[in-house]
Symmetry: C2
Subunit: 224 residues, 2 copies
């Protein structure tokens, strides 16, 4: 028995794959809530993603017992509990560094706000950008990162600078106390173990697709 749930006491860190799927479940639940549904089974919850019912139950079981045998899961209740588990039941201030094309696109991206992620400060090293206004914020020089992180209590940062300067900027983020970096630069980052990095690497994703497409297009017609 022993209270596990919502990640307080001795709970272990869930495997990354589990957390990713739980995010998907949460999103699906929110869609269903808008549609007025109030109950859902593990089978229905996994279906849109091609995830098996046993997997859904196992993933949720990692955090506690939320379902009702014979019934399924209550949509509203499960939403609350998953939001709490993932930590998206509160606001997360974000620092955005690098105002190139991608950085400016992220500044306007609506998907973040709906998840309580808010960009609160923006940084660039281009003197022509510093002092300018973007999305209601004044661009600060990268040296201002440290103070800004402290004053906004920022834990998460979006790293949108070119590959060449990514490590250098990451170092400044770490020095300032950042705990998680979403890295859009196509470069590996070296950070202390208490800092988490997630990479968004578009070229690698495209290469993956290219490989599969190439593979499934030939393959068929060749002999052993």
């Amino acid at each position: 028995m022993s209270s596990s749930r919502n990640g307080h006491p001795n709970a272990k860190l869930a495997p990354k794959a589990v957390v990713g799927r739980v995010s998907l479940y949460l999103r699906q639940l929110e869609t269903l809530q808008l549609q007025g549904l109030d109950k859902i089974s593990s089978r229905q919850l996994g279906e849109p993603f091609g995830i098996k019912n046993a997997q859904v139950r196992k993933d949720l079981a990692f955090f506690g017992q939320f379902g009702h045998p014979g019934i399924g899961y209550h949509v509203d209740a499960l939403i609350s509990v998953l939001r709490e588990i993932l930590g998206v039941d509160k606001d997360w201030p974000l620092a955005l560094v690098g105002l190139g094309n991608l950085g400016r696109a992220l500044l306007k991206y609506r998907g973040f706000r709906s998840r309580r992620f808010h960009i609160v400060a923006i940084f660039d090293n281009d003197p022509r950008k510093i002092g300018q206004e973007f999305g209601g914020m004044i661009v600060e020089p990268i040296e201002a990162l440290r103070k800004s992180i402290a004053s906004h209590k920022t834990s998460l940062a979006l790293l949108c600078v070119p590959a060449e300067s990514a490590q250098q900027v990451a170092d400044l983020m770490v020095a300032g106390g950042i705990r998680g970096i979403l890295n859009f630069a196509p470069a590996p980052l070296s950070v202390p173990s208490h800092v988490n990095v997630a990479a968004v690497d578009l070229s690698i994703q495209l290469e993956n697709l290219a490989y599969k497409v190439q593979k499934t297009q030939e393959g068929v017609s060749y002999g052993g």
Copy 2:
């Protein structure tokens, strides 16, 4: 020893994780090539990504024998072979659908071109955008997708429309003969099995980071 290598004959599709890592190796090799290195060991190759030497060798062994015992791998030779394996030894035309903030940022993104991915046609359903020029191309209506895919022989597409219309546009892509979709919309896509989808889901990545940060910040101070 039966030619495996470079993915011609009976070669099985490599596990997704393997392909992703091979992309990283290739990028690292290219960096080393620019630095003038001509040999490298499996240990050095994996180091920047925190990948163990045994893993690097096993990943490469999936495609063939490219190394030399006691020596390591020849940088130039391995680059050629990995490019061929991944399919990035040739040009890949891309269709871009959805010219919101993200779509326009991708249009200018340099990371694609260096990998021989080229956006060759752009689409939107907004009448104010159709006919306009972006990045040297004229915006076409989404209904033109089918003909364009055929004439450009496009296998890969970037899907940057809002979540609500993502499935509908994906259906048109599939009908037009697209074989791989890089999906930026926060919505699950349902496609036939011969079409590959890779999702770029920023909110989910951020939620992952938020979870870990939250977890490592508390955790420590609570009792069993």
